[in-house]
C-alpha cells in the first residue's frame, strides 16, 4: 500500500523526516510518534502535496512525486486540524467534497447519505456544522475522507480532543473502516496504547526517524502495563506494600504509581498475558485485601523505549512529559531482548 525509501524532508531549521524507509501493507496501520515526530509531514508527502527533500515514496504503487493527482483520487484524508465551515450542514459539505473527488452529482448525494449513516450521523446531518459537538465534527471529517470510497485513508490524529468514550467510539469506527468497508487505514496518534488495540501493524517514528515497525501483537506483549490498586486490611496495614512484596517473591518487578497524593497506592507491573491477571487476583485474595481496580495503562510511546535502568528509576508521570528516546539501535536491542526472553 505504502512504501518509502530513504525518505527525508528538511525544513530550513528542522529535519522533519530523516531517511525513513518502510513498507506498509493492507489493513489498519498506526503511525505513532510524539509531537513534532513528523507524522503530518509524512502524510503530506504521501498525498503528493509536499515534495520530499530526498528519497522516494509510493502509494498504491504510484510515485508520489509524479502521480499525486491519481493518488489523491484513490485516497482519503482526514486532517488533524479543524476544517469544517460552521454555516453549512454536514450533508451539503460532504456532498460538495464528494464532487471535489470526482463523483457525479447523484452519486455524490447517495454516497453522502450512506457514509454519514455509517459514521453515525443521522438527523443532525441537516443542521449547520457550527452546532455540532467535537465528536460529531470528527465524524464529519471522517465521512468526507470516506465518501468517495477510497482504497486507503490517512487519518491524522482522529481521536484528538475526544473524551474517553468518544475516543473508543472513533477507534471502533476506524476498525470498521477496514473490516466492514474494506478500506486500508493509516492512522496517526501520539498514544501507542490506543492504537495497539485498533491496528494490525504499528510504525513508530521519532524525530523523523523510524524507531520500529512491527505487528501489534508483538507490541502488546511487551508493553502492557497493569495498574493495580488495593485496600488495606487489619493484617496488612499497608496493602500496597504487601502486594508489592508478594509480587517480588514471585519474581515480578513493580513500580509505584507516582508521587501524586494517592498515586503511591498504585502498583504498576508488566503483564505477560492472562497469567499475570490471574496471579494478581490470587495474591490479592490470599492477602485478604480488596481489589479497588486493575486496569491496563495507556502508554506514552516514549515509555516503550526507555532502557531498563531508566525504567526502574522513572516515575510514570515522566511518561506524559516528552521523554528522550534512546537511539534506534538501543531500542532495537531492547525489544529484541524482550522477544528472546519469551
Amino acid at each position: 500500500m505504502i512504501a518509502t525509501e530513504s525518505l527525508s524532508k528538511r525544513f530550513p531549521r528542522v529535519t522533519a523526516l530523516d531517511r525513513l524507509s518502510m513498507d506498509i501493507g493492507p489493513g489498519v496501520t498506526g503511525l505513532v510518534g510524539a509531537n513534532g515526530a513528523g507524522k503530518s509531514t509524512l502524510i503530506k508527502i504521501l498525498l503528493g502535496l509536499s515534495p520530499a527533500t530526498e528519497g522516494r515514496a509510493a502509494v498504491l504503487g504510484l510515485d508520489v512525486a509524479t502521480n499525486g493527482g491519481q493518488i489523491r483520487e484513490r485516497v482519503g484524508y482526514m486532517p488533524e486540524h479543524d476544517c469544517l465551515p460552521p454555516d453549512v450542514s454536514a450533508t451539503e459539505f460532504v456532498v460538495h467534497m464528494a464532487r471535489m473527488s470526482g463523483l457525479p452529482p447523484t452519486a455524490a448525494r447517495e454516497r453522502t447519505a450512506d457514509t454519514l449513516r455509517h459514521v453515525g450521523l443521522y438527523e443532525e446531518r441537516y443542521r449547520p456544522i457550527g452546532g455540532y459537538s467535537t465528536g460529531m465534527k470528527q465524524r464529519v471529517k471522517l465521512a468526507q475522507a470516506l465518501v468517495h470510497d477510497p482504497q486507503l485513508v490517512f487519518l491524522d490524529e482522529p481521536t484528538n480532543g475526544l473524551d474517553p468514550v468518544g475516543r473508543d467510539e472513533m477507534l471502533g469506527l476506524i476498525r470498521r473502516v477496514h473490516t466492514d468497508f474494506g478500506i486500508s487505514v493509516l492512522v496517526t496518534s501520539h498514544l501507542l496504547g490506543e492504537l495497539e488495540r485498533t491496528c494490525d501493524h504499528v510504525v513508530v517514528i521519532d524525530g523523523g526517524k523510524l524507531l520500529r515497525s512491527s505487528s501489534t501483537t508483538d507490541f502488546t506483549q511487551i508493553t502492557t502495563t497493569l495498574a493495580v490498586e488495593v485496600t488495606d486490611s487489619d493484617e496488612c496495614p499497608d496493602g500496597t506494600r504487601a502486594l508489592r512484596e508478594a509480587l517480588r517473591e514471585r519474581g515480578m518487578e513493580t513500580e509505584t504509581g507516582g508521587e501524586l497524593p494517592g498515586a503511591g497506592h498504585t502498583v504498576l507491573l508488566t503483564a505477560e498475558g492472562e497469567e499475570t491477571y490471574d496471579l494478581v487476583r490470587d495474591l490479592v485474595a490470599d492477602l485478604g485485601l480488596g481489589l479497588i481496580r486493575m486496569e491496563q495503562r495507556r502508554h506514552h510511546i516514549a515509555e516503550v523505549f526507555k532502557d531498563k535502568d531508566a525504567a526502574d528509576a522513572a516515575r510514570p508521570e515522566s511518561a506524559s512529559a516528552p521523554v528522550a528516546v534512546p537511539a534506534p539501535t538501543a531500542a532495537a536491542q531492547q525489544t529484541g531482548g524482550g522477544r528472546d526472553e519469551r
Binding site: K44, L47, L49, S50, G69, Q70, R72, E73, G76, Y77, P79, H81, D82, C83, L84, P85, P86, D87, V88, E92, H96, M97, R99, M100, S101, G102, L103, P104, A107, R109, E110, R111, A113, D114, R117, H118, Q144, H148, D149, D180, F181, G182
Partner: protein
C-alpha cells in the same frame, strides 16, 4: 437505489463502482458552486438577500430608462452602454465587498483549503475556479442591465446596427471590468481572512483610489494641465476601465473635461489593466502555495 430505501433496510457498506470524473470535473463543480454561492444560491435564505437586492437595484435604472424610451419614442437611450457601469460603480463595489470575502475567505478561515488540495484538484485549479466564478458573478451583475437596455432599445425601434455596436462595446468593457475588479477584490480577501476586514478593505481600496484619482484629476483640470489627467487615470480601477473604453470602445470619458486618454496612452491603459489582472492571478497563486502546505 434511492437513499430512503437504504436507510430503511440499513444495508452494509457498498463499494462505489461508478465513474470518477476527475480534475476537470472537480474544477467545474467548484466553479459552479462558487458562482451560485456569490448570489446566495444553495446557501441560506439570509445570504441571498443582499446579492439579490443589489442585482435588482443594478437593473432598475436600466428598466426605467427603457420604459421611458419606449413611451416617449426618443431617438437615443439616455445613457451609453459603456457608461452604465461607471455610473453604478458604488453598487459594484458593494457587491464585491460582500461577495469576494465569502468566495475565498471562508475556505481560508475555516481551513477548508487543505481539504480541497487533498483531492485531485491542484492549486491552479482552485485559483482558476474561484477567479472565474467571481468574474462571472460580476459579469452577470454588470451585463444584465446592458441586456435590459439593448432589448428595450430594440423594442423602442432604435437603430439596430448602432445599438448592437454599442451593446457589444459595453459587453467587452464590463467583461474587462469584471476581470480586473474580481482580481483585486479576491487578492484583498485572500490576504484578510477575517470577514469584516475583508469587506472594509475591498471597499476602501476601490473607493479611496477612485476618490483620490478623481480629486487630483479635478485639481489638474483647474490648473489646465490636461495631459496629467489622462496619466492620473492609471491609478484607480474604475478610471482604468474608463480610459480603455474611451480609447478603444467608443465611449465618452467621465474624466474632468471629458477628454480620455489618446490611443497612444490608451495602449498603456490596456497594458496596465492586463498586467494587473495577471498580477492578481499570480498573487493568488502565491497566496495558496503557502496555505497548501500548512
Amino acid at each position: 437505489m434511492s437513499v430512503e430505501s437504504t436507510q430503511i433496510h440499513n444495508i452494509g457498506y457498498r463499494d462505489y463502482e461508478g465513474p470518477r470524473l476527475g480534475r476537470a470535473y472537480a474544477r467545474r463543480s467548484l466553479f459552479s458552486q462558487s458562482l451560485r454561492g456569490a448570489y446566495g444560491l444553495g446557501r441560506s435564505a439570509k445570504s441571498k438577500v443582499l446579492p439579490m437586492i443589489l442585482f435588482a437595484v443594478m437593473c432598475l435604472p436600466a428598466a426605467i430608462m427603457v420604459a421611458v424610451a419606449v413611451a416617449t419614442k426618443t431617438k437615443d437611450l439616455p445613457v451609453d452602454y459603456t457608461r452604465y457601469a461607471i455610473v453604478m460603480q458604488a453598487l459594484i463595489s458593494l457587491f464585491l465587498a460582500a461577495q469576494a470575502p465569502q468566495t475565498v475567505s471562508r475556505d481560508l478561515r475555516f481551513k477548508t483549503v487543505p481539504l480541497y488540495f487533498s483531492r485531485p484538484i491542484e492549486r491552479g485549479d482552485y485559483v482558476l475556479a474561484k477567479f472565474a466564478a467571481m468574474t462571472s458573478a460580476l459579469f452577470v451583475l454588470t451585463a444584465a442591465p446592458l441586456l435590459v437596455l439593448y432589448v428595450g432599445a430594440l423594442l423602442a425601434k432604435l437603430d439596430f446596427l448602432d445599438q448592437t455596436e454599442g451593446f457589444g462595446q459595453g459587453l467587452v468593457s464590463v467583461a474587462l471590468l469584471s476581470l480586473l475588479f474580481s482580481g483585486i477584490a479576491l487578492v484583498i480577501s485572500a490576504i484578510t481572512p477575517r470577514r469584516g476586514f475583508g469587506i472594509a478593505a475591498v471597499i476602501a481600496v476601490l473607493t479611496i483610489t477612485y476618490g483620490a484619482v478623481s480629486t487630483v484629476q479635478a485639481i489638474a483640470y483647474e490648473q489646465g494641465s490636461t495631459d496629467a489627467i489622462a496619466w492620473l487615470g492609471l491609478f484607480s480601477p474604475i478610471t482604468l476601465i474608463d480610459g480603455v473604453q474611451t480609447a478603444f470602445l467608443g465611449a465618452t470619458s467621465a474624466f474632468p473635461g471629458g477628454d480620455g486618454p489618446s490611443s497612444g496612452v490608451g495602449v498603456v491603459y490596456v497594458l496596465v489593466v492586463l498586467g494587473l489582472i495577471a498580477g492578481c492571478y499570480g498573487a493568488l497563486m502565491r497566496r495558496y502555495r503557502k496555505v497548501g502546505l500548512s
